[in-house]
Symmetry: C2
Subunit: 254 residues, 2 copies
DNA sequence: CCCCGGATTATGTTAGGACATTTGAGGCGA
DNA sequence: TCGCCTCAAATGTCCTAACATAATCCGGGG
């Protein structure tokens, strides 16, 4: 076998990130492993040290080591096979779709995001919007319309609806940081989101905002995000310039 | 509190699916819980019985119960909060994107899928295709072109590339079942896939096959699927009619 | 009546052990 | 030399046990 004839054993200091951080042990181990993969200490195809051996060497319990490895398996970085071992997957790594905003996505990709807020208005909700937010019909909602730029090029038109409780969100706040960041700052923790990705022709308005021809194709994403209580917090309707943005994800068979 | 003032306690027989099935305990419990949610025995917002209580009542260990619940949390059906408990999420359930083929997707949605195989040819790989499959340049690959129908309406044009080892796949086989089914039948187990979803204008050819106007928007998906060994098995380039198909997924914050 | 602080309850983390199952490789025999 | 069989190694499943931590509830004191 070319790949991983011998199991790779990395020093404990490299695997376990600094003890100063008071995060769970398995998180620190997972971070250490992910780092080792990212920096090339563990190259694609390499066979990992066995769970039992690793737990003894690091003075951790096997469940803890297992939990860390499981994390990376679900991220698509490692593959485990019973009777064989754990290997680093081939191919270049792609980040998984997270419950994050486009703003964070772009920053991580090393691009410079900026936002132009078109309008922030409190208006009567249409029956459709009210239903998406799980509210009874005659209710007012905050409507936000923004254009997102990456390195000065317009890449998306964002339309978001929130319950009236968030009516004090200002256009200024949204210019500086993403909507999700602002929600988190208010103590709202988003837990689950359902989204649908599709495509259609751009409306005249969208075509103008995105600087593409009228009727040009756009990539769309509708998302409903829920609170920890299960209450709908946000309904978003986004559309992207397909030549500048796409959704990448890693699927893992379980 | 309106929702879940009292924890719901379902009978053991309902939660644990038949013992005849020799699947792992946590799988059977997870299936039982998922069933209870699907049938409405556990309605949205309902509070689940605590882990400890449930494990005692079912004569299972807490880690086993935890594993089952964890599964449904990752599927987006349940939400857990420390100090509070576990609740069924609100909103209608949407299936998560899996490592499955479009063929299986449609069958599960209750639609009748069918396939028209355009051509199956063994040809010299372009440098791009070879690179996607992780092969050195001068190599032949199997190229498959199909049109997928759902209830007699064309919804996708599928273009797949496979290593020469699969050259004996015939057009006839592909008419009866999906490509992934055929691969599994040959002992190939797909473990990881990376995909990118985007949009663009349909080519003249695609517009004709999908019965849409030329230049109409199509939803595209490029996927590379890897074997358990980490070897690239398939590279696919699909395009869908956006008015008939979209990608739905559930995101869970961890 | 309001506010604050403990008791309660629930999930989160970690440990340590035992056995089952799958896989690959090496050795033995025909 | 080829094929079968056994064995070792690795992950998968399952158990018991304890402590940590967050959130809520409730009662007492101001």
């Amino acid at each position: 076998m070319l790949d991983g004839g011998q199991a790779v054993m990395l020093p404990a200091e490299q695997l376990l990130q600094p003890a100063t951080a008071s995060s769970p042990l398995w998180v620190r181990l997972a971070a250490g492993l992910e780092d080792a993969i990212a920096t090339g200490s563990l190259s694609p195809g390499a066979r990992l040290e066995g769970e039992v051996s690793m737990s003894e060497r690091l003075s951790l319990s096997r469940p803890t080591v297992r939990r860390a490895i499981q994390e990376l398996v679900e991220k698509g970085l490692l593959v485990r096979r019973r009777g064989v071992g754990t290997q680093v997957v081939h191919g270049s790594v792609a980040r998984q779709i997270d419950l994050t905003s486009l703003y964070d996505d772009l920053r991580r990709a090393g691009r410079v995001p900026s936002t132009r807020v078109l309008d922030v208005t409190l208006a009567q909700a249409t029956p459709q919007i009210a239903e998406q937010l799980g509210l009874t019909s005659p209710v007012r909602v905050l409507k936000i319309r923004r254009v997102r730029f990456a390195d000065a090029a317009p890449i998306a038109v964002l339309e978001n609806y929130l319950p009236e409780a968030f009516a004090d969100i200002t256009a200024e706040t949204l210019s500086n940081q993403g909507l999700y960041h602002e929600l988190r700052a208010r103590g709202v923790t988003l837990r689950v989101a359902r989204q649908r990705i599709g495509a259609r022709r751009a409306t005249v308005d969208e075509g103008h905002l995105l600087d593409i021809g009228r009727g040009a194709p756009v990539l769309t994403m509708d998302r409903r995000a829920y609170d920890a209580d299960g209450a709908a917090v946000e309904y978003g309707h986004h559309c992207y310039r397909p030549d500048l943005y796409g959704f990448e994800m890693t699927l893992v068979d379980r």
